[in-house]
């Protein structure tokens, strides 16, 4: 079965309009204040495909900042699993890599049904990054700029046409209804894709592999005083956690209305806050700031590889953009490398 095709640039809007009939089409566009955000696309020409990284990451469509879990009332409890069909277009390779890891975290034996019901109804069409930001470092981690797996469809911009690669059955299904729009690739198309990849690789300003950092931490070469110097620059704003495509912590609260009616919600939470671990009797297992900042780095650099065999960082560079104290992953990795 063929899973590589060529789509002419002029046919892209038509194809997306057809796909939109069956699912909510979400893509990157510029918000009124200038940020790049993923949202439902009304006019396809408003989508920006060579944009900088979106803030926040597209994880919010699988694990939203505020998610309603259950509605409860005197009559009983209703499960609010979101089953909306979504196609998310123009996702970066780093975010696709992050979602592949989130699938393993929320899946498994203890499967998070809220995440998984969204995930099963969402297709991802990724774009090979042809203009990485100055903050990006996915190339050193193998999570971009081009991917081999993880996407449903991957598009590479070849100028007047796109090379389209299908990575799943859902991906092929999006093509199969519209086979008349897609040609089979020729050698020149692959050559052009390779050119795009090379030129993209050359744009990366940061060359970071986290392996050296991990090894240094494991060898005990990173002292407490180093983490103290990191912690004292932390504003505890939680920005790194909220923007990170791989941060998964949440809080659960009950929102009560009249007559014992209400909603159980889950909201993003961050381990940078002092009250995150607070227990009865005001006991704080992570009371000092150094414990919290170090825990974030240890989780991503040491424990993610132990548990999943991959770093808990995909090099998207969002923490570099967000962190006001300049103690983001790239800066710390550069200091320790």
């Amino acid at each position: 079965m063929k899973n590589e095709f060529v789509l002419s640039r002029t046919n892209l809007p038509y194809w997306l309009r057809q796909l939109r009939k069956k699912a909510d089409l979400i893509g990157p566009s510029r918000s009124l204040n200038g940020d790049i955000i993923f949202s439902s696309i009304v006019n396809i020409h408003e989508m920006i495909l060579d944009c900088p990284a979106s803030i926040p990451s597209p994880k919010e469509f699988l694990f939203p900042q505020k998610e309603e879990m259950y509605k409860f009332s005197q009559k009983g409890v209703r499960n609010l699993n979101d089953k909306t069909k979504r196609i998310i277009f123009g996702v970066r390779s780093c975010d696709i890599s992050a979602i592949a890891l989130l699938d393993r975290f929320y899946g498994g034996l203890l499967e998070d049904d809220f995440y998984m019901s969204r995930r099963r109804n969402t297709c991802f069409i990724s774009i090979t990054c042809n203009n990485p930001d100055p903050t990006c470092f996915c190339s050193g981690l193998g999570t971009g700029p081009v991917l081999k797996t993880g996407f449903d469809l991957q598009l590479t911009d070849l100028g007047d046409r796109y090379l389209v690669q299908a990575g799943s059955r859902e991906g092929l299904r999006m093509i199969n209804g519209f086979r008349h729009l897609f040609l089979l690739p020729e050698k020149a198309d692959y050559d052009d894709q390779y050119e795009v990849l090379l030129s993209s690789q050359s744009i990366f300003e940061k060359r970071i592999t986290l392996e050296n950092v991990r090894q240094k931490i494991l060898d005990g070469k990173v002292t407490d005083s180093f983490w103290e110097s990191v912690a004292c620059r932390c504003f505890e704003c939680g920005g790194c956690v909220y923007e990170c495509p791989l941060c998964t912590c949440f809080n659960v609260i009950d929102w009560k209305e009249k007559d014992n009616k209400g909603t159980r919600l889950r909201l993003w939470d961050t381990c940078m806050f002092k009250g995150f671990t607070k227990m009865a009797g005001n006991v704080l297992p992570a009371g000092k700031k150094i414990m919290r900042t170090r825990r974030w780095y240890f989780h991503k650099l040491i424990h993610y590889p132990e548990q999943f065999g991959r770093f808990g960082c995909v090099g998207c560079g969002r923490c570099t953009i967000t962190c006001p104290g300049r103690i983001d992953m790239a800066t710390i990795a550069n200091k320790l490398d």
Partner: protein, 275 residues
């Protein structure tokens, strides 16, 4: 551990309250009707849930081999537990579980066992103490040091006398001396070296406030007990109980799914909950 609730990982099952017993002014014992297919072991816990209030992790204090009901010992400490305290027999509590790992009591077969409890820390240990008494001949000497702040805060007082009659060397202690108390005084750690058990080969099961757990584990290890034999169950802030919400995460381990029962060896290696 596998999720057995097909309706979802976070959906609690209603359990009817059969009885509520006031143990002390701020601690109540709830006896809940056991839902079908609820099989648990000492050391495990449930997420007790009340729609409109929230969810809290509560250890199971009953023993499935002995008690018909699921018993939860709940201290009024915050918003959710205060709401739980307003419930009466006939009402329902939502429960999710059983969650977490269990006490590895089979390892202690043929050996002496020392239980150390502080305050409400007796609750998770009670589940194991009753099981150990049930399987009395599998163990050597059994001792319990149970410390409370004041005489009014001692939980399960009649039951402790029952344990004593069943051959447990019981030390009930109160932090500060007072007249109406006929048993021992002082912190639990002051009583550890007075026990007549074999520290080199015996096992210790500890639960209580963080400070007490840390001090007791340290003292036992100085008395020659191997770190793998010193076993504790720790408390942590939790929202999900299934290793997703991240609140109980500590140095690569989740207290809810990897614990709450840990040995001193694990706690030292991973730095779990050592403020």
């Amino acid at each position: 551990m596998k999720n057995k609730n097909k309706k979802g990982l976070y959906l609690p099952v209603d359990a009817k309250i059969n009885d509520v017993v006031d143990l002390t002014p701020d601690v109540k014992l709830y006896k809940l009707r056991k839902p079908r297919s609820f099989v648990y072991s000492p050391g495990q816990f449930v997420m007790a849930s009340l729609w409109g209030a929230g969810e809290v992790p509560i250890s199971i204090t009953s023993t499935s081999e002995i008690h018909q009901d699921i018993e939860l010992c709940i201290r009024k400490a915050g918003f959710v537990t205060s709401a739980l305290h307003r419930l009466k027999p006939g009402d329902s509590i939502g429960i999710r579980g059983p969650l977490g790992n269990r006490f590895p009591f089979e390892d202690a077969y043929g050996q002496d066992v020392l239980f150390i409890a502080g305050g409400i820390g007796i609750a998770p240990l009670r589940s194991l103490i009753n099981l150990v008494i049930e399987k009395r001949k599998n163990f050597g000497k059994i001792a319990l040091i149970y410390g409370s702040k004041t005489p009014t805060e001692v939980l399960f007082m009649p039951e402790t006398q029952n344990w004593k009659e069943n051959g447990i060397d019981l030390t009930l202690t109160i932090d500060v001396e007072c007249k109406e108390w006929a048993c021992s005084f002082g912190l639990v750690t002051e009583h550890i070296n007075r026990q007549s058990i074999s520290f080199e080969s015996g096992y210790a099961f500890i639960c209580g406030p963080h400070v007490m757990i840390n001090a007791a584990m340290h003292d036992l290890s100085l008395l020659g007990m191997p770190a793998e034999h010193i076993i504790t169950t720790i408390e942590a802030h939790m929202k999900c109980g299934v290793g997703k919400c991240g609140h109980c995460y500590s140095d690569g381990r989740y207290v809810c799914t990897d614990g709450p029962v840990f040995s001193y060896a694990e706690i030292r290696e991973f730095g779990i909950a050592s403020p």
